[in-house]
Symmetry: D2
Amino acid sequence: MEQATIFPGRIRLGMVGGGEGAFIGAVHRHAARFDDRYELLAGALSSSAEASQRSGRALGLDPERIYDNYKQMAQAEAAREDGIEAVVIVTPNHMHAPVARVFLEAGIHVICDKPVTTTSADALMLQALAKERGLLFAVTHNYSAYPLVRHAQQMVREGALGTIRVVQVQYAQDWLAAPLEQGGHKQAAWRTDPAKAGGGAIGDIGSHAWQLADFITGLKLDSLAAQLSSFVPGRAIDDDVQVLLRYEGGARGLLWASQVAVGCTNDLRIRVVGSAGGIEWVQEQPNELKWTPLGEPTRIITRGSAAMNAAGARTSRVPAGHPEGYVDAFGALYSEIASHLLARRDGGDPGAAQFPTIADGVRGVQFIETVQASSLSGGAWVSLP
Amino acid sequence: MEQATIFPGRIRLGMVGGGEGAFIGAVHRHAARFDDRYELLAGALSSSAEASQRSGRALGLDPERIYDNYKQMAQAEAAREDGIEAVVIVTPNHMHAPVARVFLEAGIHVICDKPVTTTSADALMLQALAKERGLLFAVTHNYSAYPLVRHAQQMVREGALGTIRVVQVQYAQDWLAAPLEQGGHKQAAWRTDPAKAGGGAIGDIGSHAWQLADFITGLKLDSLAAQLSSFVPGRAIDDDVQVLLRYEGGARGLLWASQVAVGCTNDLRIRVVGSAGGIEWVQEQPNELKWTPLGEPTRIITRGSAAMNAAGARTSRVPAGHPEGYVDAFGALYSEIASHLLARRDGGDPGAAQFPTIADGVRGVQFIETVQASSLSGGAWVSLP
Amino acid sequence: MEQATIFPGRIRLGMVGGGEGAFIGAVHRHAARFDDRYELLAGALSSSAEASQRSGRALGLDPERIYDNYKQMAQAEAAREDGIEAVVIVTPNHMHAPVARVFLEAGIHVICDKPVTTTSADALMLQALAKERGLLFAVTHNYSAYPLVRHAQQMVREGALGTIRVVQVQYAQDWLAAPLEQGGHKQAAWRTDPAKAGGGAIGDIGSHAWQLADFITGLKLDSLAAQLSSFVPGRAIDDDVQVLLRYEGGARGLLWASQVAVGCTNDLRIRVVGSAGGIEWVQEQPNELKWTPLGEPTRIITRGSAAMNAAGARTSRVPAGHPEGYVDAFGALYSEIASHLLARRDGGDPGAAQFPTIADGVRGVQFIETVQASSLSGGAWVSLP
Amino acid sequence: MEQATIFPGRIRLGMVGGGEGAFIGAVHRHAARFDDRYELLAGALSSSAEASQRSGRALGLDPERIYDNYKQMAQAEAAREDGIEAVVIVTPNHMHAPVARVFLEAGIHVICDKPVTTTSADALMLQALAKERGLLFAVTHNYSAYPLVRHAQQMVREGALGTIRVVQVQYAQDWLAAPLEQGGHKQAAWRTDPAKAGGGAIGDIGSHAWQLADFITGLKLDSLAAQLSSFVPGRAIDDDVQVLLRYEGGARGLLWASQVAVGCTNDLRIRVVGSAGGIEWVQEQPNELKWTPLGEPTRIITRGSAAMNAAGARTSRVPAGHPEGYVDAFGALYSEIASHLLARRDGGDPGAAQFPTIADGVRGVQFIETVQASSLSGGAWVSLP
């Protein structure tokens, strides 16, 4: 992807949310800068006008393009000849929909964090709106950009695994094993507030686990049975979710996402088993993929090696053995989005997006809602819409 | 356990099943011999009288103690002054109950493979009969004898993990990913015949996974929702099972057992997460246990090291770094059973068995039946008896 | 290090070498861009003027600051008011010295790839020159910037390991196991040309291995015995090096670097054993460090976790479990150099550099020369200068 | 190897050394019992007559075959019609030669622990004596019996690795990192006493590391340079050894053995790199072998899987995924020796021994002596005899 850096054009970018103290805003900026294909020019970086100003200055933005709120920003940027082409939305989840709507209505492409909204109605509204306006709505399911996740997806598409039988995916963390939110931890506070997050473990990381399985397998989920738990005393939202999955065509699966899993840091992993072989990928060691053809020894496919397929190579940069990580993959996603937007700017056909868009976002929110519905009804089986 | 070898007495042992070509019979004999505490003296090693004779001679048994069938054997051995004290039952599952019954009725202790029976009614009958006759009925859930499984159990008992929140257990194999039973593979044939096995993946390995969780956590299972699958075309029995678990007291869990999991050889593993820490143990690397106290780095507890607790040390033999494995643990189980039987022989109090007995066997069969009931009703939640 | 992005100032940067097709030039640019603290403004990117122009334009440089050669560049940039403050040198090794000399003489700080020169005389010359001119001469031993390498260094400094006894370091690759250089592979060609590289495995990666041990332990090397090999038929330079090490104070060590180690991709790893504990770090899994206090279980120290010390935290960015990799660490090194240069620009005291400088570069070249001298004399013990 | 158990004959065995408190004696007894091919009938189990009696009775030996000393035992057993056929020697190293001599002279086969003697003169004497008497002299280099070590050996023999280039072998422990011998630890005491052990780390475990490399590669060692260290204050013998190796034909290697390597438990591992591929095996995870064909992904060869070759399968018992360990491999070695002895007893041709014999023992002691000579001369290169 070094050729990226030789492209003369960069996407003019704005950001809503992601001001001082935010974790994910900084990651998005790193990611956008990674391949040098964006110029961050404007921001409404906090729900507090004062904090937004302070954060914007700290980032070296032109003071007149630091906005007190996102509405003002959408209006002003849409009016400028050199206004932003795309906005990154990294607010708490409940603000994704209103912010995205305003920018879409202003004719600005959207790059939005996940889960894309807190209701599927909102997600469908945004999908329709983006379609109507002919705008891109990308969703930053960053884990889908790891080279070996792409490699895995292509293996499935090419039939290397045969008929898929079992999907096992987990996303286990332990950062909320103690009641952090009761001690003034800002991120823990909004992420455990049902009104702001729209879901606890299921929304924050369960959605990533679902998406990883969805992305690699391409299987359509038929129905599920789920149990949400709030293990930490006093917590108002789920911090653990366990789901049985039934896919169309007969595949079955298990999904576990937890924020109380002491011993797991950010343990997102997936195993996909088919009639002709199985694969396993572990996010904390993202530079290798285990691939076992039926009846043969397991192979370790290394990122950057000759064994990697074209889809994997597309988001891989440095040679094998030089570990790529979280920011690299996040940056690869941003780079793909830039390529897509530049193709549009140049009037060309960007082709089908290889990265997650609002269509994935809609299904992701529907998954969350179905899990919540199942759990509320005692773990009954509920069909996806 | 070297002191074992200094004990002058050995248990006089017989075996039903386990003749030529049987995998598990040979393992039981290795295990019994491991610490030199048994003398194998009699056998009805096959359902075919001829094969039984041939196998018995191959094992060097006294020809007059090689029997054509188990009924003859129970009768004859019970009548001898030097008759066997205990019988090992390693037939296909559906024969466990009738064989065990006959030996219990003959006053002979039973050591039985798992699942103990194919119906819970039979298991309860055997439990009552063993109690009535004052005989030991041990069940060879061999994985429970690994030193670090004992260590983990003691950690839970001592409260090191705090309140248990999540149990995740899996037993994934791939030996039945192709339709072996359609090609004359003897073991595959009976293990995939519902009449002989009483359950496929759920009976053969799901029962081990259940038992491992049961043994370590001591939690009582309240209810479950399960889906059994038969992925291999033409197979008449389940080869994959996925279960959501609810324990009394609020803990939740997932269990996955599969015989079609290409990429997994004998991947039995368990994670137990509590409010104060989490542990993880993987059967294929049985000499280490990961232990993470809340907020601290993960420790690798090595079998044989100073960090191992007394319960772990009880079934550990060679020094740390000298790997113990499957036969060692199976042997440790046999050694414990020998100690128990010798204490009884000497008229002493053997104390509470540290190893699985018919009580565990009963619960195991009830677990299997509940899983089957849930799956038959479309994955509905079903309470344990 | 997000605060980095809030710093209004960036270092004005130039680059010599690193044009089209170069691996390491692109990595340096990624690294410099990572924390947004540099502006790449000028370059003489190739020894061919034409290629330099093409590469410079591809990178979007101002055409008048794309130079045909490094001498022209040094002169012109030194004469501009907005000239570059620092130059990155990423040419083949034999050109490091002449290029660095010209820029130092022009009053421009140097950031140079390793090994810093092909002779220790040159390295000493550059050290003296940099000192005389009061300029920074940083050497990009990038592996020293991994957070857990810093953590390890601080552990040693604080005495956590007690007296160091054994150092075991290896850097094993397999990319040159076949005679790539005979097939037109550009990088392989210069790296296996003694005139351009100054050393094969010893120069390219042995120097990294030496530096990693030097950086973490702080031990002074007394003498060594070495064997260089050229295993691939027709190769004119070493592709494997094995060294016994004696440190002042009694510690002993082994160093192995290989480019023919089939099965190893970029397997740089180090174990340091002291009287009070031992550590192990593996570059391909850079987000964990194994730490074993004498008599206690091994701990896995995770990057980003609460267990990481201040030195580790200094070059760590994203939360634990979100893997950082090669570019992250390289970027952290660049970020430290930027902080240092900005402090100088502001007239402040930058303090002692935490990153490798020409002093390390001198010792590194002396190490290479001593290894070569030992090997030439049949593996005799040779003292370091 | 289950067929072993069907063999009617067992080898009549005696033991010298290995009484109460001895680690390795118990392991040898386990190993001999493993496949039921030996009958332990006689012993002089301690240098103290009283302890020998006590130990023999504890093992259930016939009192008249418990001897006060090994000379008495050799004489008496040789005179009995049912006397032992083979003796196991598990005394401290300095006693191996005199004991072995006496038994060979009495016409009794010898199974001896390693290092076989403390001087190569003694080893050569025993070699000659065994040859003269036509007796087997087996040496229990147990690590050579692990199935995947056999698999690796066969791969090398078949040329799968091409021309061998690099051998890297280590045996790192930490049990002597503190001065245990100064606190009354019996095993530590004799093992650190130069008069009894004949070598510290080099003799105890360096000899195993050497043998593993020797066994797998079949390469002839030309010369070496070594440094022995005694890191623990007050220790009279080496506790760490580091060696550069030169093989005939051009291969090069490194050997490290240490008893002070905090963080390593029993970390014996080997990497063999050839022109066509590389392998890696780690004793603490003995059930897998990494195999990387040049230019292809690494394969994990699992013990018991279809990918294991005939040599590996020969010493493998239980199915893949059911871990075998230290005692299993030790037992496999004993079983091979039994097959050899039974073939001799039956007057057949046992064929070439697949297991280590006195020829390996001689070379092992020569290796130790060469290492000691090199170290004494300041690490100079010394040729093997």
